[in-house]
Amino acid sequence: MRITDIIIVGTTVMLILAIVVILLVMLQQKQVIQHKLIIRDKDLQLQRERLEAILQGQELERKRIAEDLHDEVGAQLSVLKLTIGGLQPLLKTGNGETERLKETKEFTDTIIQQLRFISQSLHPQALDNLGLAHALDSFCNLMNKNKQVAIHFKTPESTIPVDRSKALHVYRVVQELINNIVKHAEATSIEITYKNTPNLLTVEVADNGNGKLLDTLNESKKKSGSLGLKNIESRLNIINGTINYHKRNPIGTVAQINVENYQQSAQN
């Protein structure tokens, strides 16, 4: 073999080696990044599972408290109301005792109402028994009794059953939104529209407030401790839902919650 041939062969080998090195560098870095992405995905999944477990624990505790309040304290207050009702015919003095007893009975009634409201807010029993649309309707009725703000709930005649866990998250998000409106928007009326197609559940919360809710939301996003907004985001993140805020014409704000694949799976 002549020197020229050796050099040509050597050059060819060098060229092939150079190509192999370049390809190996590309592949190696790609593998490192993919490995990193897999670890990141697992971390996110773990965080999500932890959050879900925390929220589930929170809900269980709320349910226990709500049941205790409703079944024990509520029942005792009802007995107290009946006892007060039974005392009324026995009072014969004309020194205003009847009126005071009537006031006490009314006060007991108010406490029972408030207890129901707290119990309902803590854990919506209607959600388990009648579904999301009815639970939201029931929540609106309860809120309307406060007369702080008038809530109108619109729902189609037939609704598709929503997965139990997803329904609870959507319910909590709507609850949080209404709390925000009552606190910040100075609204007199709220309109909740419930829509469902086989693949998409949409709940629209529109108010006629000052529209400052959007600014408040933007400010809250910048702050690290905006618990309400984080709660909404976390809950929607768990159920793969989204929320969009926009201004309403002529005044107010609209928040639109969208949840895809919300229906109960066959195994549930």
């Binding site: 050099i7 150079a18 370049i22 590309m26 870095q29 790609k30 990044i33």
Partner: protein, 223 residues
């Protein structure tokens, strides 16, 4: 042979156009590659003219090789982050000026291809290229931001240079020997050497163009 030469010249010119059009938006590393292509164009065209006029253009070859080394050192200076390596890269052109001068005046002479200095230049370029590959492979910022190495223009520029110097180093080392000895057919060797240089040079130019096309898409520059 001349056809391959004109093809190479044409590709260099074609690649130079997009660099020239986007010159203002180029990052420092791309600018140095632009200067390298410009220099390569001057190298090719100038060596052809000198060959036509004076028959021997080897002194021009040696001079341009040194200028290329300086420009490429500046390219690697703009990419490599290691302080130690940067220290070496910045000072090596002075050392190489001495090596080129000794080779030019003492070892191979101005009428022959300066194999010692050009071979050393190619070896240094391969070393710089591998260093840059290693740096990009272990770059935590790239991994954290999930930026693939092939989306960086510097990777493509470096690949072009690495491929070119890996393929030409053996010819660089042996060419003066072939020019001086009568045992082998030097014309055949020169022909093969130039053909491979032009072919790999064209591939490098294409890789430079790929690198340039990555500059408009990316926001992260590895320098």
């Amino acid at each position: 042979m001349l056809t391959v030469f004109w093809c190479m010249l044409g590709i260099e010119f074609l690649v130079l156009i997009p660099f020239l059009l986007k010159y203002r938006q180029l990052d420092p590393s791309s600018k140095w590659i632009f200067y390298y292509i410009l220099l390569s164009l001057l190298f090719s065209a100038g060596s052809y003219l000198i060959m036509m006029l004076y028959k021997n253009n080897m002194w021009y070859f040696n001079l341009m090789h040194f200028l290329q080394f300086v420009v490429l050192s500046m390219f690697y200076m703009s990419c490599i982050k290691s302080p130690k390596l940067r220290y070496i890269i910045l000072r090596l052109p002075i050392v190489m000026l001495f090596v080129f001068s000794v080779d030019f005046f003492r070892i191979d002479g101005m009428k022959f291809y300066n194999s010692v200095s050009t071979g050393l230049k190619a070896a240094l370029m391969i070393f710089y290229a591998i260093s840059l590959f290693m740096q990009q492979l272990s770059d935590k910022e790239l991994i954290e931001k999930s930026i693939y190495i092939n989306s960086l223009p510097t990777f493509w520029y470096n690949s072009g240079l690495f491929l070119y110097f890996c393929s030409t180093i053996l010819f660089s080392i042996s060419l003066s020997l072939f020019q001086k000895t009568q045992n082998e057919n030097p014309d055949k060797m020169v022909l093969v050497s130039y053909s491979i240089t032009y072919a790999i040079g064209s591939i490098s130019m294409i890789l430079f163009y790929i690198g340039l096309s990555k500059t408009k898409l990316m926001k992260y520059a590895d320098h």
